[in-house]
Symmetry: C2
Subunit: 321 residues, 2 copies
């Protein structure tokens, strides 16, 4: 493999080269040794994109909805990125998502970048690689970036933490998906979309959500999540979703919430990188022998794990001087 | 609330007081400020118990199976602990598990300790509080401790990491639970139990598992997971499960695998405690202002998150001297 010229790659990504964008995302996804260099080159170029999370149970029509939203933003002349993150498998290293077919509508559009990512065995993977991939798309001039993920509790929360606005998709006849998700989705949803709204039960789903939203404690200046019915497969209601996204973005910007969310995100990212680095340093300590000796002491009952952790921290700290 | 006398509590737990055991588990579960003291008092007393993980999809009969296994070990005169961990909800702070009814068979038995635990919003919670709760039961003289959790991918892996032996429960007619879990369960299962083996499809489930096990690459000295059919609700096959557990334990002990697993567990625990401590130190830095300033620099594009993380580590390290 040829040596990667990061500066050249970033330059071509900024010029909108899909190949350069794909290459950079691969670099960050595979935790390339050049990751640090890539991130350093991208950071000053990023920050203009709106990041929109989109989550929901399997079968609610996430892919179809995302595709319709991409079309809508393209009609406004916006450059659009899509990251489809699959956090469901703790073992798979591949990124095989279900229905990516709809996305092929955009395959020949040079102003649409679509990428599937696996989360590599843990949600830490999502938290770690996804911000870098977002940065790539942001630097490549995407005005809007969709981060789509299957709603499975923790992944929902993770995607909400990465996004400026989070859309929670539900569909009628999906069993008790609304009930099941109840505890969590209100805390993360900025916009509810009831897809497949031509089906039986759609009005009930809308009523359920309306009651949930009404019962939640919204302060006078708080954002009250709108509930938008759609039939994404026929492009119905997509304009209303775009309007809701725009309204939420205006609210975020006006109240300073956008900056607060982005600062919180940056804090989380810095902390995650620092913790990872310290963890690696712990593992590396004396070829792992120090940690082994401490573990032996815990198993034999010689010392407790807190005392062992103190010694480990002291060792890491000393090595860092 | 009265001041907690940890030494007294631990003493009474060792004497087998259910109230003292319950109190100590509450202390570790709620991350009491006395947690460190509790752990230090427990560590030298723990290490004799066999820790058995039990996982499976909702509806396979985990609770019924655990209850039947408790009865079987009680018949041998063993003291038994059960920790039922619910990792499914990222928001609930409570520990509401579905069918705990069967467990009430053991409610009046002073040699059975049963406790439900919530994982407090993240799997880190499982990894963090569960080892301490296991230590409480171990110090209280439990010969066998079952850690029961709903199989949802990551939780399965987490429970396997905590256990000496891991039982994976499946049931016929549970849709494609075996298929879905395929990638993961082979790596964690020491014993497969096909519960509800009187139902249609049981033979097929057993055949599927047998093929999976046969295809896996077991070395000549490796453990080959047995497949045990049961009807837990009628106590059928439970003796075979106990036999499989005993055989696995003998194999673990003879080959030194038991010690290796326990050392790996202690390493993970020490590292997790150290990382948590360092993370807290990061958050505390200058009343959080240092991290805020670094985050502002990332959002404005002034520096990248890796450079910010370096500064954060340097600050934590300096404070530790």
């Amino acid at each position: 493999m040829r040596e990667v010229d990061v500066t050249d790659l970033v330059g071509r990504a900024v010029d909108g080269s899909p190949r350069a964008v794909a290459r950079l995302i691969s670099l960050v996804e595979n935790a390339s040794p050049r990751l640090r260099e890539v991130t350093a080159a991208l950071t000053p170029l990023a920050g203009a994109a709106r990041i929109i999370g989109l989550t929901g149970s399997p079968g609610v029509g996430k892919s179809t909805s995302t595709s319709a939203l991409v079309t809508a933003f393209r009609a406004q002349g916006k450059r659009v990125g899509v990251l489809a993150v699959d956090p469901s498998s703790p073992f798979s290293g591949g990124a095989l998502l279900g229905d990516r077919v709809r996305m092929q509508d955009h395959a020949t559009d040079r102003d649409v970048f679509i990428r599937s990512m696996a989360s590599r065995g843990h949600l830490g993977g999502l938290a770690w690689a996804t911000p870098q991939a977002i940065r790539v798309l942001d630097a490549a001039g995407c005005d809007v970036i969709f981060v789509e993920t299957v709603g499975v509790g923790q992944a929902e929360v993770a995607v909400a933490a990465l996004a400026d606005s989070t859309i929670v998709l539900v569909a009628p006849g999906m069993g008790d998906s609304i009930q099941a998700a109840k505890a969590g989705i209100l805390e993360i949803a900025d916009i509810f979309v009831v897809n497949k709204a031509d089906r039986d039960g759609a009005q009930q789903a809308i009523r359920d959500l309306r009651n949930m939203v009404a019962l939640a404690d919204h302060g006078p200046d708080a954002w009250k999540p709108p509930i938008v019915p759609t039939v994404a497969s026929r492009d119905e209601g997509i304009g209303d979703v775009v309007e809701a996204i725009d309204k939420h973005y205006a609210w975020l910007s006006a109240g300073g919430t956008l900056l607060r969310r982005r600062l919180a995100r940056a804090r989380d990212e810095i902390e995650a990188i620092a913790v990872t680095a310290l963890r690696e340093r712990m593992g590396d300590l004396h070829g792992d022998r120090r940690l082994d000796a401490l573990a032996e002491g815990v198993v034999s009952g010689e010392h407790d794990p807190y005392t062992a952790a103190d010694e480990l921290i002291a060792a890491v700290t000393k090595d860092a001087r």
